[in-house]
Symmetry: C2
Subunit: 367 residues, 2 copies
């Protein structure tokens, strides 16, 4: 995989060069505003004394860690603030791959491509477990794929790209599988504020030293560019590894971003989160209504920003996506970019205020 | 080395628990203000549209890279914005260790402890070249230590902890040694704005694909907590490695920090830099005057924030430093924390507005 020009750039470039107007449903970056309180936090930081411009602790600003600890119900010592969920996942996967025996990292297919990229980067082999057609990850299938060669299992709920929210029973079983085969479960919960089912279950609710929860404010507060995430690590050895790797590779995260997020966590009213969630959900509903009327198959999202769809007599490769750009004026991501099991599908992100236009265009094209 | 509680914390904790007032000359974090323009940049970012809160390019914001390219006289493509000089050094050392044959990383002694920590973290053996008593690194000694086992050589000018500024002839020879033994020269120039000798030479001035220059705005703009640094990498393969590692470990740096630094680079008058430099130099002069009157040996700094001093009939271990805290009310860093060749010395940082008090206390104690 070529990480410098990730596959979604290919699609976005094609769309940018198209002869017509195209609705961008490729990117997963929120197109809505961060909380006003976050901007207030940045303004307050701009006036802060000189001392506040120097290194924060390597593990992150204490008030931010304390607020996260309170909300997630864990001791503050277990929290490391990272450069987004990306670094949190890297620290967790790298530490788990070192600490547990085994040559393999187990991933779901379709997969968020960076998990695969990180596994390759670590020199780990990857083994994939195909998701069900509704996007769920069957614990029985995961258990069948796990072995003593498994060092790390990465799961993501609400899921990118399928929108599945794994039930508590599945999360519990994923942790049990990690324990049974001597591996680490990494549970990436970065879309946790976008659960439409009320069924979201955190791996934190399963008591185990063999699970690490990663998360970030990138989606929750619409600030993918601030790079504020965290890992919650219960096991002392895994936590030491993550702290050392963090200190020697990035030293510490950026302070104005941490400061602003800490302020926003305290001051943002619940209506911000519910308002954004309802808006995203409304967009998903509009898109799935169109898919219904077209007669397309789709993973009905319980959470997240994405819908995977399979159109009648239509594929999910780059050529199909290009055709949809040219003929319908809608750009999605080829399912083939996420693995093999959904290669006839196309992922649509609803991070655009033009979902209505896109839905109407798809209806016109496929009907 | 225990990176979670770095050695300087031990000294700072001891100082904090002392029964008396202690001048902190341990930390290298500037105690002065960042440019007002940098605060203006943060305020402007606080008002920026929602789009500006999303992922910047992985290699960094284009205007920031362009301004650095202009100032350093290199093509913009060679620049990767990193999470401080720390990440830049990590990317350079890790990539060099992978790309060049050899098991060793060559470092100066006394050494900035993070270089040694990063080498250990990469699984590299370390070989040290003792600096001269004036803090200079003799190219002949470096050449003698280099071999086909050398994969990376790290130099730092102006130097932490000695204050030495390496002359152009030495920098040129360091690059030649790297080329001759099939290794990478990493030149960390993070103190480049604090050259009092007018003799500072950048490794950029030596045309070679076997050198990487690392730098940051942490010291230049007194913002160690913003985490904005960069690497300049001429060789295509080394640059690809750094970009991939950067993308898969941290994804990208924090955007408000990059935005604010870009604004400050454009808008800060030269008087800010010269004013800060003269202030630091004045503090160094006051300290070295005291050392002269005491009859202490010291590395007369040509640059940077630090003075290494050896007092008559006094050591440079933790016990000596603790004695100086209790008896004189001045806290420095044990020379032993930086290696073997200066283990009878103590490093004093002038990142405090109480250098006058410290100088007077040292004079009173040693005279």
């Amino acid at each position: 995989m070529d990480y410098e020009t990730p596959q979604f750039y290919r699609v976005m470039q094609y769309a940018a060069q198209a002869d017509r107007d195209v609705v961008d449903m490729v990117s997963g970056s929120p197109d809505w505003d961060p909380p006003a309180t976050l901007r207030d936090g940045l303004r307050a930081y701009a006036d802060a004394p000189a001392d506040d411009y120097q290194y924060p602790p390597s593990v992150g600003l204490r008030p931010l860690r304390e607020e996260i600890a309170r909300r997630r119900g864990v001791p503050v010592e277990q929290i490391i603030i990272t450069n987004g969920a990306g670094e949190a996942n890297h620290l967790a996967m790298a530490g788990g791959f070192e600490a547990f025996g085994g040559t393999e990292i187990l991933l779901a297919d379709p997969v968020y491509p960076y998990y695969a990229g990180r596994a390759n980067f670590l020199g780990a082999a990857t083994r994939y477990v195909a998701a069900e057609t509704d996007g769920q990850l069957d614990p029985t299938a995961l258990r069948k794929a796990a072995s003593e060669e498994t060092s790390v299992i990465v799961v993501n709920s609400p899921n990118n790209p399928t929108g599945a929210v794994y039930p508590e029973s599945a999360i519990r079983e994923f942790v049990a599988i990690a324990e049974d085969c001597g591996a680490l479960l990494v549970s990436d919960e970065v879309y946790d504020h976008f659960d439409y089912s009320g069924e979201f279950a955190s791996a934190l609710d399963v008591d185990s030293e063999q699970r690490i929860v990663t998360d970030a404010f990138s989606k929750t507060m619409a600030v993918t560019g601030l790079r504020v995430g965290y890992a919650i690590i219960t096991d002392d050895d895994l936590r030491d590894r993550a702290r050392t790797r963090h200190m020697l590779t990035t030293v510490t995260g950026s302070r104005p971003a941490q400061y602003a997020v800490a302020h926003a966590l305290e001051a943002t009213p619940p209506s911000y989160y519910s308002g954004v969630r309802e808006r995203v959900r409304g967009r998903i509903d509009r898109l799935t209504d169109a898919l219904d009327s077209i007669g397309a198959e789709y993973t009905d999202p319980d959470g997240g920003f994405y819908v995977m769809a399979r159109f009648p007599e239509f594929g999910g490769g780059f050529d199909d996506v290009y055709e949809l750009i040219d003929a319908a004026g809608v750009a999605g991501m080829p399912g083939a970019a996420f693995g093999e099991s959904f290669e006839d599908w196309i992922r649509f992100s609803v991070c655009t205020d033009r979902v209505e236009t896109a839905a109407a265009r798809l209806e016109a094209y496929f009907e």
